[in-house]
């Protein structure tokens, strides 16, 4: 997480790049040409980016919670992830007709079991189930995570605070082509009687990447400071 600017001396100048990199120049050129040609307007572009930046992991949490309460939905999700998402109003093709800027052809839900723990990565770039989880976290895109989790998955998960027992298989899913993955975590045993909506609150982003598992004391609205005060 790049928060260093907030914690350094307020008088320290923020170091920025003066020059745009090639891809930024290319993006600007294509965007401005498209607007000039009337393919879309500047406001259309702004609206798309606003929508896209706001997707977040809520859709993924709804899919997981539904799978926890509805075994038949879970079977459909495991069989055809894209179709199952559509049942919950999450259309991988929307809004462009070919999806968000994350090309895909297939979605696989990787079900965790008492004997199997799944974790996802893209060693080539940062392929990610964006319609379900929104933008990927910064660490997911960094070479540090990408090159190490395929090589030393147990150590990397331990760095996230997740210790997987040696009798549980760790299966790394490297999204190198057009299949996208989401981890279907195990439902915590102490959630009997919970509603689907309440269950969705403990399905946080990292549990669907596979670097964490759901816990009833950690919800999507928990704050670290709140937890510290409670202790």
């Amino acid at each position: 997480m790049n928060t260093s600017h907030q914690h350094t001396d307020a008088h320290t100048p923020i170091e920025g790049r003066d020059e745009a990199i090639e891809f930024e120049i290319l993006e600007t050129a294509v965007r401005e040409l498209s607007i000039a040609k009337g393919l879309f307007s500047a406001e259309d572009h702004r609206r798309f980016m606003e929508w896209y930046d706001n997707i977040g992991p809520t859709g993924g949490a709804r899919v997981v919670a539904r799978a926890w309460v509805d075994p038949q939905f879970k079977q459909r999700l495991l069989a055809d992830g894209v179709a199952a998402c559509k049942e919950l109003g999450i259309d991988w093709m929307a809004p462009t007709g070919h999806g968000t800027p994350s090309d895909f052809t297939w979605l696989v839900a990787c079900e965790n079991t008492p004997k199997l723990h799944n974790v996802i990565v893209c060693t080539l770039c940062s392929c990610y189930p964006r319609p379900l989880l929104g933008h990927s976290p910064a660490w997911y895109e960094r070479p540090n995570y990408r090159r190490r989790v395929v090589r030393w998955p147990r150590q990397v998960l331990a760095e996230f605070g997740l210790i997987i027992p040696p009798d549980v298989e760790i299966r790394v899913h490297d999204s190198n082509q057009k299949t996208r993955y989401i981890v279907l975590p195990m439902r915590p045993s102490d959630t009997e009687g919970w509603s689907e909506e309440k269950l969705a609150t403990i399905v946080t982003r990292d549990t669907m990447i596979g670097v964490a598992v759901p816990r009833i004391d950690w919800t999507t609205t928990s704050t670290p400071s709140g937890q510290a005060r409670a202790e």
Partner: protein, 103 residues
Amino acid sequence: MSKFEIGDRVTVRNLPALFHTRTQGYTRGHTGVVVGLRPKWVIPEDEAWGRYEGRREPFYMVRFNQRELWPDYGGAVIDTLETEFSERWLESAAAENTAGKTP
């Protein structure tokens, strides 16, 4: 018609990587098991150049044991990794064995 079936042991070929391939270096020369079949898609070697009507091949999900990928893998022997390949990148593990492994 797919060349490989689920359960087949396949070895990732070490083809030239002059341009875009999406086949990771760490998988090349290693043997795994086909665990999933995918329809024919345009291969990345063509798609990367905008040739969306380019060559189409079946893709395969292949599961490797981590100890096969990394001889000094320090985790559990049961640990695995799955990733995908177009047909051109795979050969039957048996055929690979008779041909002998190139150093």
